[in-house]
């Protein structure tokens, strides 16, 4: 977390540094480890060494694509509400976007960066023999891939939790996802150059890097993101709210609108109706955030697979009991029926 502001500043300073940086390497070296994401750009910047990057590129591209997709989706998804979290996430994502979609300014900055990194590496070159260096390069490149993995793999979890639980868990996961790569960057090199034993962590990272490099398909499956457009709430008159895009959301969740509506009414303790164009008219004043919370609870309860956390589930009714079957892991479980519970008498009493 603390990295990002740091990084951001360095990010902006880079162009200035450019003139200086070439002379002072330590600065460049300092700046580099703080930025996991720009590594991706290797291919572009270093013409000489670009060849080494061969195997990972496809993988990285995938990562980039996904991360940028993720961006858009995430911004789309409930973006307004979680400003705090969003701001945290935006920074690294922006980076990736910069690399993925190649915004001219960021690209340039990264390029500069990279020249620094390469310089550093080149300086090291004479120290080792060529083979070792090549190994190292491929290693670092593998790491880069891995950094992407971690981000792409870690964030979804975080985000999923955000979306679903709006608990702090997401932040933690996110933090891990970021710290690990930074640590890795610094760690693996010593293991290569010195003859000490590699640690379990290092090997684990190596394994994952290679795994993902060799089959990028894993990537797409693991980082599949579940996003939902934020609910659009309008006010009708003074006492009614209109939930406009409920058909969209239901379609996204693969749920019958009736079920969702039933849940929402039970949960919010109100009533309402569906109008001609499929919009839901809810009695009472509700804000987008509130509806979102209810939806989130619905997703946790009736959409996510409890076994594999997947959202690819179907709800079927058998003998008056709802069963949720997961399409990705095949598990099947019954879900609790929607109960509205006690409803207090509000407004006029009914004549008996």
């Amino acid at each position: 977390m603390s990295e990002e502001p740091l990084f951001d500043s360095s990010f902006k300073k880079k162009p200035k540094k450019k003139q200086v940086a070439f002379s002072e390497d330590p600065l460049g070296a300092d700046a580099d480890p703080t930025q996991p994401a720009p590594d991706v750009i290797d291919n572009r910047t270093t013409n000489g060494e670009a060849v080494d990057m061969g195997p990972t590129t496809a993988h990285e591209q995938l990562a980039q694509q996904q991360s940028s997709e993720v961006d858009d989706d995430f911004k789309a998804m409930f973006g307004d509400v979680k400003k705090k979290k969003k701001s945290k996430k935006e920074i690294p994502l922006d980076l990736e976007e910069g690399s993925g979609t190649a915004t001219p300014t960021t690209g340039a900055a990264d390029d500069l960066d990279f020249s620094d990194i390469k310089k550093k590496k080149k300086k090291k070159k004479p120290a080792f023999d060529l083979e070792a260096f090549e190994k190292e390069l491929s290693q670092s490149k593998a790491k880069d891939g891995e950094v992407e993995d971690d981000e792409a793999g870690g964030e979804p979890d975080g985000r999923f939790l955000d979306d679903v639980n709006d608990e702090d868990l997401g932040e933690d996961v996110f933090a891990q996802a970021h710290e690990v790569p930074a640590g890795v960057d610094t760690q693996t090199e010593p293991w290569l150059s010195s003859d000490r034993d590699y640690t379990y962590q290092e090997l684990l990272h190596r394994f994952y890097a290679q795994l993902h490099a060799s089959n990028p398909a894993l990537f797409s499956s693991s980082t599949k993101r579940y996003t939902i457009a934020p609910p659009q709430i309008m006010r009708e008159g003074n006492k009614k709210s209109i939930f406009a895009n409920i058909p969209d959301i239901c379609k996204r969740m693969h749920r019958q609108p009736e079920h969702v509506i039933q849940f929402m009414f039970a949960e919010m303790g109100t009533t309402g109706s569906v109008d001609g164009s499929g919009r839901l008219v809810i009695k009472g004043r509700f804000q987008q955030k509130q509806i979102e919370n209810v939806l989130r609870r619905y997703i946790v309860e009736y959409v996510t697979c409890k076994t594999c956390k997947s959202f690819d589930t179907l709800l079927t009714k058998e003998n008056r009991i709802f069963f949720m079957s997961c399409m990705s892991c095949g598990s099947r479980r019954s879900v609790s029926a929607i109960k509205s519970g006690f409803q207090a008498q509000v407004g006029k009493r009914i004549k008996k």
Partner: protein, 112 residues
């Protein structure tokens, strides 16, 4: 589910019953705290499913004093004794109950 179970002797009848009980129990063990909107910015908070070992009357009294709101006890056929308080007291109720030693997982907040 299986009506046949009711007529014939089923070796797992006890098992199923236990399971059922457990299931139902786990649902009923929850303390549901709900909110209902009234007119304007007014609202009502209802607490349902209080375990038997707690006295609803005393709890209501404590709530009223603690949250500075009025409230009442309502006898409902389905829900049993329901504590009804004026205003949105959901979070306060949760904290209160947690301080009294009721595990957090047993308290379910509903509403937006």
């Amino acid at each position: 589910m299986n009506v046949g179970n009711l007529t014939t002797i089923d070796p797992f009848a006890d098992e199923a019953q236990n399971f059922d009980n457990e299931d139902v129990g786990s649902q009923q063990n929850y303390i549901h705290v709900r909110i209902q909107q009234r007119n304007g910015r007014k609202s009502l908070t209802t607490l349902q499913g209080l375990p038997k070992e707690y006295s609803s009357r005393k709890l209501l009294k404590a709530f009223k004093k603690e949250f500075a709101c009025n409230g009442t006890l309502i006898e409902d056929e389905e829900a049993g004794m329901v504590i009804q308080l004026q205003g949105d007291q959901r979070v306060k109720i949760k904290h209160f109950l947690m301080e009294e030693g009721i595990p957090e997982k047993d308290i379910q907040l509903h509403g937006f």
